[in-house]
Amino acid sequence: MQAWLINMINLKDIKNQFPIFKHQPGLVYLDSTATSLKPKIVIDKINEYYSEYSANVFRGIYPMSEKATAEFEETRGVVSKFINANNSREIIFTRNATESLNLLAYSLGRKIINPGDEIVTTIMEHHSNFVPWQVLAEEVGATFKIIDIDEDGNLEFKIQNSELLKQIITKKTKILTLTYVSNVLGTINPIKEIISTAKSINPNIIAIIDAAQAVPHLKIDVQELGADFIVFSSHKMLGPTGVGVLWGKEKILKDMYPFMYGGDMIDEVYVDRTTFKDVPHKFEAGTPAIGEVIAFKESIKFLEKIGMNNILEHEKKLTDFAINRLIDTFGQSIKIYGPKKIEDRGGIISFSFDKFHPHDIAQILADQGICVRAGHHCAMPLHTRLKVQATVRASFYIYNDEKDVEKLVEGLKKVKNILK
């Protein structure tokens, strides 16, 4: 194993903590962008809740319910500290990042967007940060504006061209919503600079960051970023499925409409009126994914133990290694999308290979135990922009190493042999 891997992350130790590698021997998992694998400590914590204190939260006066509530709220505190929120009231649990974004489109968007206002997003968004805003704009009669990418897959925003910027961001722009890391190109957008530039043109802009592909891989400090909202999902960062996070500035959250109505979110209900709880509970109607939220904190502790900076460095080095191996081996017949400079990208490599169909590539790799994704990765506008119907995507996380890359290279050789 190469020195750079041993120094930062003892990979064998890490792999041993993921039971899936015992159940799926030889697994080459290169689809962490879709969902990550789960360490034993997270699985055990879910089991602990269901085995030992599986009561509802915020309701029972009996000790089991109090234990569940305390564990549930402890996660809120851990998340809050992890992203450096002002306080844990700013952390709202949803089902996933998609729900967090839809919550914002309903509860914030429908409150502040008027006819003629502008919503600005980018061409590299996942559908979940594109469609809710597109639909809202159409419904209200607002303008939906899209920031393009350059040939390298970086946002045109990055070019310090204030004229271009002023054409997009205006005094009418109410919401700027964009991804931190592209789930296709791997581009890490300079979020801090983008937000500060946007707010210098119009200080009233609300900046929303889809951090679903960022929070699992790099250190996020919401104070430093200057965003008003960020969203992410537990299941992409070693945690359970069914848990998403919406972080927002408390002041704005308080003014927003509730998202769903029902249990847990109301204060008092009369036949003629209802009052609602304060944040965060105002946005958490119904019984949440209790065991999953409780276990989510274990994944955060796990990541913190490794260190977010180590994780990013590991992924960058692995990505750099993989890109070089792919190009060395396949030359012109492989086309890799996204930034050429490794500084600008995270652990995601989307590519086209010869004339081979992405589904065939993924299928032949699957037959060799290699899990990659084929398709448009819920980013059709981006694929249209790239003039390609579908791509193959390989993505890395803490349990991947250069052996996985070598297996991918061997796998692609086999693809070529079968389909040529």
């Binding site: 169909h357 448009h376 119907q389």
Partner: protein
């Protein structure tokens, strides 16, 4: 069972009935937005039966092989016979085990054909 068998790959590399008809009686397009497969099928009838059928487009191995085999099968068959065909027939025709996601690729040419009947 491996789906990339010689017979499937042979149809993929050398598809039968690939191309266009001049002034076809009917033509129709189908697509699978998930993977970007697109097929246009063109057909000529003689009375109630298929006289000639051709297809072109972009597709994976499975959808191309399926289109190649299906157009072979369809010739001189009646509209009624062809209307009865379903995904079970396609799986049997291809002779391979297809997962849930790939079945859509295999059935795409049949959708195109059914549009023309």
């Amino acid at each position: 069972m491996n789906i990339y068998q010689d017979i499937i790959l042979d149809h993929y590399h050398h598809p039968h009935n690939q191309g266009r008809l001049i002034k076809p009686d009917k033509s129709g397009k189908v697509s699978n937005p998930l993977c970007g497969d697109k097929i246009e099928m063109m057909i000529d009838f003689e009375k109630n039966k298929v006289k000639e059928v051709k297809f072109h487009g972009e597709g994976c191995v499975i959808s191309t092989a399926s289109a190649s085999m299906l157009t072979d099968f369809a010739k001189s068959k009646s509209k009624e016979e062809l209307k009865k065909l379903n995904s079970k027939f396609i799986i049997k025709m291809l002779g391979i085990d297809l997962g849930m996601t790939r079945i859509k690729c295999a059935v795409l040419p049949l959708e195109a054909l059914h549009k023309l009947l």
